[in-house]
């Protein structure tokens, strides 16, 4: 069986296709849900970390700091294992939810740092100008600083989302049926008995998803940069 024959078999065999799409579905669901969760969590944590020091913010700030340090300092695979085998050990708890939470929490820490950097990169003069007009710090943040920060963080957030999508492949390590797992099963001895073809095809799948995402991010970026053109 040569390579192209193999690819042809893979795409024409309904069983193989079904496996691939089942895997694709799980990869996409985990990616999208974790991305949403990560963005929300990251934004909240970033806002907490840039708040000026005050007694009321002391504990939230402390928690945020520990969260970011621990999540960024430990391997994703380990976090996933802990989530599965230590925290969500209830029988029949949907594993897709567990995986989403694990990836969402992980992504949130990186997004928080990106957003924090984005907000800090906005010139302090912008805030001062807003405050000098009598605007509250909340309005200044919302109307002036955040819109400019978003523009600055889109590229790095895009990077983070791309990394997240590819990182979801490690759910196959705990036996979940994602794209990578599908490739592994299709390539196994009982089926095609060759990993080369399904692995290459799945690689193309990932590539296609990431490429589309990159395209969308570029579009958003271009639109947001409308005010910068000289």
């Amino acid at each position: 069986m040569n390579f192209f024959e193999g690819v042809y078999t893979l795409f024409t065999n309904p069983n193989y296709m079904q496996s691939l799409f089942k895997g694709l579905q799980i990869t996409l669901v985990i990616s999208v849900a974790a991305a949403v969760m990560g963005l929300l969590l990251g934004t909240v944590v970033a806002l907490i970390t840039i708040c000026p020091d005050s007694p009321a913010m002391k504990i939230p700030k402390w928690i945020s700091k520990i969260y970011i340090t621990v999540i960024r300092g430990t391997p994703m695979a380990l976090q996933l294992f802990i989530m599965f085998y230590v925290i969500f050990t209830i029988r029949d708890f949907p594993e897709i939810v567990t995986a989403t939470i694990a990836f969402g929490i992980n992504s949130g820490a990186y997004v928080a740092e990106n957003i924090r950097a984005g907000i800090l990169s906005v010139d302090v003069g912008q805030t001062e100008a807003g405050r000098a007009l009598g605007l509250t710090s909340g309005i200044t943040m919302r109307k002036v600083v955040i819109p400019q920060a978003i523009k600055n963080v889109i590229p790095t957030i895009g990077n983070e989302l791309i990394a997240l999508i590819k990182e979801t492949s490690i759910v196959s390590m705990i036996g979940m049926y994602d794209l990578t797992m599908a490739a592994k099963i299709i390539g196994s001895g009982n089926n095609m008995a060759s990993y080369l073809i399904p692995m290459s095809v799945v690689a193309l799948f990932y590539l296609a998803i990431v490429y589309m995402l990159t395209f969308v991010i570029k579009k958003i970026e271009r639109r947001l940069r409308a005010g910068d053109k000289r």
């Binding site: 003069g125 605007l135 109307k143 523009k151 005010g227």
Partner: protein, 300 residues
């Protein structure tokens, strides 16, 4: 209008950089006060303390009869007399005046000062203190680096604050904004983003953005220092016409010509204090302070 009472400002972790060392001044309505001085003398810091962009380390700032900083006990002998430290000193056979003086000199009040003292301080704070955001509405500020909102068009820059603070409806604010833009001949730039404007245009827009709030006083923090020489004139013209309309102005600048022509009073700052204060004629003809003489000989 604005009264600054014995303001101190330190920077650095332990306050080791002392920028303002006890500045007091009054800005009356209709005055155009120009603040001159060598760099690092605290001119900009003083101006920024007036609208609390910089929080003074000590002293008080009053705006139109309202206190905007926390009250400073050292300005009120009757409070100091309520303090535990004062009582302790009297018990050690100090005279009243001596005790007060020593407290002020040593700033002993960082220690616990007793309930009567705290209550008095809190009462004054509650009665007189004005929310800084309300005070700032009445004080326009123009920055050295313009600080136009980069994500908003020229027109939106002018309407943002009046509309967000519900002082005007969107239509009213736009009408006023267009009138102001007409005054500086930039009506055709209403829908441009700041990035497309020249430095001079940006600074003119920044001035009318402050005016859109209809302030009682305008603070200028070196408004022409970041401009190409060619563009200085257009900005100064706008400021001159503003002065002619009777606006109260406090201007930190290096433009001697402007100071002489427009100012009603000039303050010379040196090493964190106001070293000399005079009318423009007096200031340039008869400088008394040696540092001022040196300064003028270099810049004129």
């Amino acid at each position: 209008m604005i009264s600054v009472k014995n303001v101190y400002k330190d920077f650095g972790e332990n306050g080791e950089i002392k920028v303002l060392r006890g500045v007091s001044c009054e800005i009356e309505k209709g005055e155009r006060v120009v603040i001159l001085g060598p760099s690092g003398s605290g001119k900009s810091t003083l101006l920024r303390c007036m609208n609390l962009l910089e929080q003074p380390t000590g002293g008080e700032v009053w705006v139109a009869g309202d206190l905007i900083t926390a009250p400073d006990p050292y300005l009120y002998p009757e409070w100091l007399k309520q303090s535990a430290t004062y009582e302790k000193m009297l018990r050690r056979n100090k005279k009243e005046d001596e005790a007060l003086e020593e407290i002020c000199r040593n700033r002993l009040l960082s220690k616990r000062e007793g309930r009567a003292f705290e209550n008095m301080r809190k009462a004054i704070e509650k009665e007189k203190r004005l929310d800084i955001n309300l005070a700032r509405r009445k004080m326009g500020m123009v920055f050295q680096h313009f600080n136009l909102f980069n994500n908003l068009t020229v027109l939106q820059n002018l309407t943002l604050a009046p509309v967000e603070l519900k002082l005007k409806t969107q239509e009213e604010a736009e009408e006023k904004a267009l009138e102001l833009l007409r005054r500086i001949d930039l009506e055709d730039k209403r829908d441009e983003y700041p990035a497309k404007l020249s430095g001079g245009q940006k600074q003119r827009v920044a001035i009318v953005r402050a005016l859109a709030m209809e302030p009682d006083v305008m603070l200028f923090d070196e408004p022409t220092s970041a401009l190409d020489p060619e563009m200085v004139g257009e900005v100064l013209d706008v400021m001159k016409s503003l002065a002619a309309s009777g606006m109260t102005m406090v201007v930190v600048t290096h433009e001697m010509g402007f100071a002489r022509e427009v100012g009603t009073r000039i303050m010379f700052m040196n090493e964190g204090v106001i070293a000399e204060e005079a009318t423009p004629e007096e200031f340039f003809k008869n400088p008394r302070h040696p540092r001022l003489k040196e300064f003028l000989s270099k810049v004129l």
